[in-house]
């Protein structure tokens, strides 16, 4: 078969030289395409994942932490007491209830969900109940939606404000398909300005994962 090709080439006069140049050009183009293609190599996946989530405000003065791995993508944003006061004041909370929140918990804004982008990828389940903040030698559980519902009931807070607060908190447990995510606040009974390590837990399909994000700082 190869001989037949050789034989055929002989009859083409100038064609072999031209073809060789064309062949080299094709290969060069193919090589160049491979080198510049954004889909080749691990950098593609990394660059997609490292882009800051636009759902969280960013800019000068905004402090954020990012994590991506084993199906989870996460962005945490430091919220200062004044951010929290502005948010709660706008939702109908009394000044007393607003100050109760500001004085009793450290709050992070968050955007979290599945890092998977292909259909058929395993569901990612964020298990907020198992998360722990490590501070001052203590392991501290987050104050969840269910905990806050009891707080507002006990304080007799405005129902509309309580509803807004519930939905503004990150879900206690949520399952995310590929590209899914939620936005919400996470609260820990830790004083303003404290530096913590955050232990996060999630499922990637049937696999259980955890990670420790170090050096988070509560806003003050």
């Amino acid at each position: 078969m190869r001989d037949a090709v050789h034989d055929g080439a002989r009859g083409q006069g100038q064609a072999p030289g031209l073809s060789r140049r064309l062949a080299r050009a094709v290969l060069r183009i193919a090589f160049a395409v491979l080198m510049v293609s954004p889909s080749v190599g691990p950098s593609w996946a990394q660059s997609a994942g490292e882009a800051a989530d636009p759902s969280i405000p960013s800019g000068p003065g905004v402090v954020q932490w990012h994590y991506r791995g084993q199906g989870l993508k996460l962005t945490l944003t430091q919220l200062r007491p004044d951010n929290v006061r502005a948010f709660l004041g706008g939702r109908g909370f009394t000044k007393a209830d607003t100050e109760f929140v500001v004085q009793s918990v450290c709050i992070f804004g968050s955007s979290m969900g599945s890092a998977h982008e292909r259909p058929g990828s395993p569901p990612v389940v964020i298990l907020l109940k198992q998360w722990r903040a490590h501070w001052n030698g203590r392991s501290i559980a987050p104050r969840l939606r269910e905990d806050w519902a009891k707080v507002w009931k006990a304080r007799g807070a405005d129902e509309t404000a309580g509803v807004a607060f519930h939905w503004a908190l990150f879900p206690t447990r949520q399952t995310y398909g590929p590209t899914d995510y939620n936005w919400g606040m996470i609260t820990f009974p830790i004083p303003a300005g404290a530096r913590i390590d955050l232990e996060v837990h999630w499922l990637n399909g049937d696999e259980r994962h955890s990670a420790r994000i170090r050096g988070l700082e509560c806003g003050q």
Partner: protein
């Protein structure tokens, strides 16, 4: 041993090169090209079991009570949102663009605001020039009944009233891939 380059060899080389490129694309992004992988970021998740959408009775921004039955037989895109939720705000312009594309095609886009505060909702809708129907779920009860856990969440209901597709988190709702998936539900029995 020398290989003479003929048009036939050239063609084979070109095909091999293209095959190599395609193979590497596949290795990097699974069975999808980058364009397809990009589309996946914009697609919707199927809802297992296709449960019936729960009935509701909620006021719109004018105070008129609306029910699910008002849109019976249509494909419904139901978005659960709040003015204070950043990704909800971000996807609203795309929802409005989507609405303008599908409103005459048997599809209704409906936003349900979780929680009250009508003044802020009004201001938001005016600022963003939103023209699709917006209802207010003051207690969050309807949102819970629709299995919404976090914001934003959007559910697509087929003409038979079944919840068939879902997006947790924002999407570019006017993306052709999403609109095609929604329009394909028309006529579903």
């Amino acid at each position: 041993m020398s290989l003479r380059i003929t048009p036939a060899v050239l063609a084979v080389l070109a095909m091999l090169s293209l095959g190599l490129i395609a193979g590497l694309f596949a290795a990097a992004s699974g069975p999808f090209s980058p364009a397809e992988a990009g589309k996946m970021r914009r697609l919707l998740q199927p809802i297992p079991g296709k449960p019936q959408a729960p009935a509701f009775r909620l006021p719109d921004t004018d105070g008129t009570m609306r029910t699910l039955e008002d849109w019976a037989g249509k494909v419904l895109i139901v978005n659960f949102w709040a003015t204070w939720c950043p990704p909800c705000r971000k996807e609203m312009p795309a929802m409005e663009r989507a609405w303008r594309k599908v409103k005459d095609k048997g599809v209704v886009l409906l936003a349900i605001h979780v929680g009250g505060n009508e003044d802020r909702i009004w201001a938001f809708l005016t600022d963003y020039d939103i023209t699709f129907p917006v209802l207010i779920d003051k207690t969050g009860a309807v949102s819970r009944a629709w299995r919404t856990i976090g914001l934003p969440t959007t559910v697509v209901v087929d003409p038979a009233g079944r919840m068939v597709l879902k997006a947790i988190g924002g999407r570019e709702w006017d993306d052709p891939a999403i609109l095609d998936a929604v329009l394909a539900l028309r006529g579903t029995k």
